[in-house]
Every structure is written in structure tokens, then in C-alpha cells.
């Protein structure tokens, strides 16, 4: 499966899992789908049959509410059957509402409380540096999540300890629960702030697979500094009625909306 197909399959799994769950977060799952598709289908060295392999690359979904996107990537990689996706958020299904490393194979850190995952990603990168391990650590932050002070504590530490084995995406979709991030509590200019904190910053279109690839390659070659990739994205990307609609932050599609969304994603293949 090429990565465009992988991303499309992810979007279908996200829609169907949320439709069956009747709750969850489609907008922010669809905005980071292309980032995760490149990571899991191309970039990361992972071993689905041995999810805890010590030399695997790590991924921390700091914006844990985008769990359906992570689960979709893991299912497509074969960590668990794709059919499980339709049990998302159901009792003892193994797919908690927010990622749990104790419940789901392939989840490297339990996240969901915003601002915390990025600190754990720093800890993983620091542990790798201390042990001389070659694994890399990837993380995705939400733009609204940047309002959490802990994110900046983590960025300060990442730069201070020169964690060049850490690569962090900011899923800059511009919307959060209460409205546009620019109106709620603006985190911009994100790139300039990250630069001032001592990080190597790359700005890309977060839906352009080639731009994602080249940013990841640049991150790998950047030494002495962690890399932050500010990915300009569209919340709800791929489903017309969800795109750029704040109301689709945390609502599941009904049957009719689900059918329409699936048709649109299919048409994109």
C-alpha cells in the first residue's frame, strides 16, 4: 500500500470507528492523518509482531484525543485486527477513548491529558541518548495544546539536552474546542517561539506527503537540536462537511453523514 492509500484507509477507519462509537474526535484525527501515515508507512522503524522491541522507534500522540488516527495506523500496520476499530471506546475493547499503553499494542505512551505526552517523548529521547541507542522518538502536538505551559517546559528541556533524536509535529489546524485558536488564546507565531526555545523549525503543508517526507529527512540530518515540524493542516481534512468546522472537534457522524464521508474518502483514492 502506498502512503496515499494508507492515509485513505486510515480516514475510512477513523470515520467508521467514530460512527460506531457514537462519540470521539474526528476533526483532529483527520488533520493529523497524513502525518501519521508517512510516519507509520515509511519513516518509523517498528515491529508490529514485537511491539515492545527495545530498538523500535517510539511515537507519542501528545494530542491523545486523536486516538482514532493512531489506532487506524496501528491496525493497518497489523498490531491488531482492523475489525477491532469498530469497538472503539467500548468496554474492554482494547481501544480506550484516549491511548493507553497498557491496553493497546503499539501505543508507546498513555496520553490524553494535554501537554503531558510531549514530556514523556522527551524522556524517551533522553533515555535513548543516555544509553547510546539509535531509536528515534516522534510526537504530535495539537496547536491548542501549545496553550499548556508544560509543552514549553518540555521544549526547553529538549533543546537544553540537545535531543536531536526527537522530532515533534505541531498539528496546526487552527481550531480548538471553544473556537479558532487565534481567538481562544493564540499560540502564534508558533515557529518563531519554537526557534527562540532553541529548536530546529520546519514549516510545511501537513497534507503534502512529499513535504512531510522531506521535513522528516531534514529532521534526521539535524544534529544537536530537536526538530519541530509546524504542519499547517485542515481540521476534518478529507470530509467536506467537517473541514474547518469547530463543531466537528468532538462529535461523531450519524449514519447519513458517515455514508457521505466514506464516499468522499473513497473518491479520493
Amino acid at each position: 500500500m502506498n502512503t496515499k492509500e494508507f492515509a485513505n484507509e486510515m480516514r475510512k477507519l477513523i470515520l467508521s470507528s467514530l460512527f460506531h462509537a457514537k462519540s470521539g474526535h474526528p476533526g483532529g484525527s483527520l488533520s493529523c492523518t497524513d502525518l501519521l501515515a508517512v510516519l507509520y508507512n515509511e519513516e518509523m522503524r517498528v515491529f508490529p509482531s514485537s511491539p515492545k522491541a527495545v530498538d523500535r522507534d517510539r511515537f507519542v500522540l501528545s494530542k491523545g484525543h486523536a486516538a482514532p488516527a493512531l489506532y487506524a495506523a496501528l491496525a493497518l500496520k497489523g498490531y491488531f485486527p482492523k475489525e477491532n476499530m469498530n469497538c472503539l471506546r467500548k468496554l474492554d475493547s482494547g481501544l480506550e477513548g484516549h491511548p493507553s499503553m497498557k491496553c493497546t499494542p503499539g501505543v508507546d505512551m498513555s496520553t490524553g491529558s494535554l501537554g503531558q505526552g510531549i514530556s514523556a517523548a522527551c524522556g524517551m529521547a533522553l533515555a535513548g541518548k543516555k544509553s547510546g541507542d539509535s531509536y528515534r522518538v516522534y510526537s504530535v502536538l495539537g496547536d491548542g495544546e501549545l496553550e499548556e505551559g508544560q509543552v514549553w517546559e518540555a521544549m526547553m528541556l529538549a533543546a537544553h539536552y540537545r535531543l536531536d533524536n526527537l522530532c515533534v509535529f505541531v498539528d496546526f489546524n487552527g481550531l480548538q474546542v471553544d473556537g479558532p485558536v487565534a481567538e481562544v488564546l493564540s499560540p502564534v507565531p508558533i515557529g518563531e517561539k519554537m526557534k527562540a526555545f532553541g529548536l530546529h523549525v520546519i514549516e510545511i503543508d501537513g497534507h503534502d506527503l512529499d513535504q512531510i517526507r522531506s521535513a522528516l529527512a531534514e529532521a534526521r540530518q539535524t544534529k544537536g537540536q530537536p526538530t519541530v515540524i509546524v504542519a499547517h493542516t485542515i481540521k476534518g481534512r478529507g470530509v467536506s462537511y467537517m473541514e474547518n468546522q469547530v463543531s466537528w472537534h468532538g462529535a461523531a457522524p450519524n449514519a447519513e453523514q458517515y455514508e457521505q464521508g466514506m464516499k468522499e474518502v473513497e473518491a479520493n483514492v
Binding site: S110, S119, A127, Q150, E153, M156
Partner: protein, 324 residues
Amino acid sequence: MSEMKAIRDAYGEGLAELGASYENLYVLDADLAKATKTITFKNAYPDRFIDCGIAEGNMMGVAAGMASCGKLVFASSFAMFAAGRAYEQVRNSIAYPHLNVKVIGTHAGLTVGEDGATHQCLEDLALMRAIPGMIVLSPSDATQMKAVLRFAAQYDGPMYIRASRPPVPVVYQEGSLTYTLGQSYRLAEGDFITLMFTGPFHTLAAEIRALLLGIGLKCRIVDMPSVKPLDEVAIRLAAEETGCIVTIEDHNIYGGFGSAVCETVAGMALPSSSGPRVLRIGVEDQFGKSGTPAELLKAYGFEAGAVAQRILKAVCPEKLSMLS
């Protein structure tokens, strides 16, 4: 007079002693290495000490990430910031995924002294005890702290360990003491009541016992470093054989060690009794304030005469007048 040593000093030394046996042991601090005494470990193993700066929430997340990669992590700060400020990071990033992080809160309780209320954490036991799967330990002297640390290094999972600031008597002989999970230490026999304390209250308990012995009442004394899990056998025996348990802790009486004993006793089928089952000595829902540790303990009721009076009032008021 016995040797005096701060429990936090034993923490630093204990870490340095463990550093040789555990190559995966890392110590994190938040700009307080000189106060928490992790500096002793830092001096011995500088490559395995990480200063996270004044950012306790982030430190707990970093600790979690390191533990997920196989490191044995001790994350240290004052109790106020380790258990208080970083509560949610401890809950969600460390305890929920059951990671092998030991959270150490030094400078717990009133005995921080002159720094006053903002630094005197009287709620850490309550906060940490309420987290599922969290082990909560509060050693009573330097030797016990080291025994607890040796246990902590072997135990795979999250744990909170409380330490206080000032020098306190070294009661247990170094080298001889071991700690196993949930263990308590019965220090004196008696049938009148049981004094159960957590943290450095050996002297206070002994003084209370001496006062009551003076009027013919013999107290049992039990040192309870395990706030969670509690030694329920020791509690049952105390309740059955001595009637009333008097808990002592440098902590709010709400939610901490005394509360935990109450919860346990309330669930036990015991012989009927007309008197109280548990009497809690602690800080009575107040904030601390500045003063020397000794002044503060006295001001907040941790004084043998005052406690003995409270015990007699509650258990056998007819003997109150006998107390000189």
C-alpha cells in the same frame, strides 16, 4: 542521646549506594538537588543525574518516558511540588501506565519550618494514596529510609516516598533493617491503646508512652512506614487487643494516614466497645506557618503532654486528673 540525621540525607546517600548495583537507575530533580540531597547521587554518578529545572510537571513526564524505556527513575522535589503541583502528571503519566517511577517528596509536613505554609505540604499522603496502584511510604528515620529505598529499587511500579527536612533521631541500627511491602514495626508492647505513627515520631511516641506508663497505662507502639498498603494485621491486632488506635502524622488529619487507618478499622468486625476506635493526631485542617520545627510541632499539638491528655479524655476521662 542517639545520633541525629535528616531522612533526606539518607535519601541522597541511599541513592548513591544503589547506583552501583543498578546501572539503569537515574535520578531526576527540579533544581533542588542540594535540598533533596540528590546531590549526593549526582556527585557519585553525574551521567545518571538529570536536572529538569524548576518544572516539576515536565519532570514527571520525562521520568515516565525514561521508565517506559527501561530506566529505574527516582524523581525528586519537595513534597509540595512532587505530589502537589505535579499531581496530575504523576497520576496520568506515571501511575495510569504503571511505570517504574519513584516519586520522592522531601520537606514534607510542618517541619519544613521557617519557609512557612507554601512549602509545608500537609496533603501529599492524601493525594498520592488516592491514585490507583500507587504505593505510599513514609519512613521514620534515616535507616528505614535506606531500607525503603532498597525495596523501591527492586519493586517494579509507581511509588511515592515521603521524607522530612530536619535531623531526627536514628532509631534503627544501620545494616540490620529490612523493609518488605506493607510491613510495620512493633516497637513497644502494651494493652491500653496503640500509638501508630508514620514518619519521624519515635521520640513523641516514646514520650507519650512514658507519661501514660507513669499512671499505670501501657501503650503499644507501632511504626507504620506503609501508608499504602497498610499493615491490616497490625491494625486488627491493635484494635482487638488494645481497643483504641492513636494515629500520629505530620499531615492534615483528613485523607492521610489517620484516615486510612479509620477506613480499615471501619471495615473490620470487632468486639463491641464503648470508646473510640481511632483517635487522629495530626494537623487539624489548617495551613502551616513559619517557625522552628520544634515550635511548630508544639503549636500544632504534637507534644507528649497534650496528646496524652487527648487520649485520656477520649478513652478514660476518669484518669485525666492523674496526669501531672
